[in-house]
Amino acid sequence: MPQMICKDVSLGYDGNAIVNNLNFTVNTGDYLCVVGENGTGKSTLIKTLLGLKAPLKGSIELGDGLKANEIGYLPQQTMVQKDFPASVKEIVLSGALNKTGFRPFYTKQEKELAQSSMERLGIQALSKRCYRELSGGQQQRVLLARALCATRKLLVLDEPVAGLDPKATTEMYELIYDLNKNGNTTIIMVSHDISAAMKYASHILHVSREPLYFGTKEGYLNSDVAKMFITGEVKE
């Protein structure tokens, strides 16, 4: 079932398009990796998918019962968060805020959801720790647990391993893969890491000024774009 359908979407700032004619479909249970050089509109695409920004042209439709506020998001860390005094539990629980509506406090159910999200990612032991004192990998897990509180249907991840050491990187990829395979959570991930994309993703979207490729991973491997991009990356 298609969860998200992008039709003839153009992205950009102040009326200047960065990407034109994006057409792609994300089905429930897909693992889509968005790759491309810097400055080709990957971040803008993420913002548009999340509804933080309107597309210049075209439309993004949601399907399979997915509502606009049921898209979980793992953003890149901001400066504000680096010295933020908050416990892990407070942050994870804040993911359930979209379920509260006008209710000012969290219900027992929502607190249990936060608990189970922490268990799912193996961070329940950290629940009372201060976020700013955790390692980069632990912080990413906290933010991922928060996203799981918001939804289990679709997660959008913006460079989830940026700044992590190799071990934490692998662990993070495995966790995401596990959520996708065993939790049936659809994943849309922006990444520079083409080898990880080839290992875990089911679909690849390669963006540049024109969308260069969209399709399955197997098809991408045989495309000219991939050959140039992958060897180009090696040269750098």
Binding site: L50, V80, F84, P85, L97, P104
Partner: protein
């Protein structure tokens, strides 16, 4: 007469009790939003708004309004909304806009007070508006009631929206993406901060109000590690500092506003050092 006798004599008067209660309420309210402003890098908005409040007070004085609040409150709230909505996509960016608005209102306010003097002692008036006066000891019944109502509203708002304020403070884009109306809450917080500043001007004067807002939060953040404990700690230190400042004022006759700020600074120093030691 020893200090205890002196104090018990003072506290027989209703106006002294009123001052203490109002001072504590103001300190409590202003501390609640400190953490949010500091963490969102909005501390300067508090400072800017306090200058706007000074400018509007000058206008109110010239127009000879019986109740200054009717002018000061709407103008300051309006500036808060303008500053915040300018923030993201204006030609003049956030901090520059704040600097511009705040020095303009400071300059125009002082100019107006000089062109249309309302009393023979203009510089005395200006000084007491900027640094607080003994006005907290001369509060009328209406002032006290108004202060109670506004503080009550601020505290209720904070409790009802606590979780939303946390989420929007910690990660605005995540909040937006999951359907939280972050823009609305930003504006609401700015409006409330404007209200707090106008009320707090009575206590410490317009130049020192932002100290009342950010100092308790900065102190608490040195030591405490969860958002809730930071808020609770800043509320407690703020109230204690305000009470200490008012009592010291009664004993030593130092200006109320600067005494409270000095108390806050001392507490900050203690928290800063203990934060370093614990690490």
């Amino acid at each position: 007469m020893n200090i205890a006798d002196k104090l018990s004599m003072y506290f027989q008067y209703d106006f002294v009790k009123n001052a203490l209660v109002v001072g504590i309420l103001i300190a409590l309210c202003s501390s609640l939003f400190g953490a949010t402003l500091v963490l969102k890098r909005f501390s300067f908005i508090g400072d800017g708004l306090s200058h706007v409040a000074f400018g509007s007070m000058a206008i109110a004085a010239i127009l000879k309004f019986t109740n200054n609040m009717l002018i000061i409150l709407p103008l300051t709230v309006l500036s808060a909304v303008v500053l915040l909505s300018l923030g993201q996509n204006a030609k003049i960016k956030g901090d520059a806009a704040v600097a511009m608005i705040s020095v303009s209102s400071l300059g125009l306010g002082y100019m107006l007070m000089n062109i249309f003097p309302t009393s023979s002692n203009v510089s005395g008036d200006v000084c007491s508006t900027l640094f607080g006066s003994t006005s907290i000891l001369t509060l009328t019944k209406t002032d006290v009631v108004l202060c109670f109502m506004l503080s009550g509203a601020v505290i209720v708002f904070f409790l009802l929206f606590y979780n939303k304020i946390f989420s929007v403070t910690f990660d605005e884009s995540f909040a937006r993406a999951t359907g939280i109306r972050a823009g609305l809450y930003n504006i609401l917080v700015a409006v409330i901060v404007a209200v707090i500043i106008v009320v707090a001007m009575n206590l410490v004067g317009s130049l020192l109000t932002s100290a009342l807002i950010i100092f308790p939060a900065l102190s608490a953040m040195r030591v405490f590690k969860s958002f809730k404990s930071v808020i609770i700690c800043s509320a407690i230190t703020s109230v204690l500092c305000a009470a200490a400042g008012i009592i010291l004022h009664l004993i030593t006759a130092t200006p109320i506003g600067s005494t409270i700020v000095a108390a806050n600074l001392a507490v900050f120093a203690v928290f800063f050092i203990s934060g370093k030691i614990r690490r």
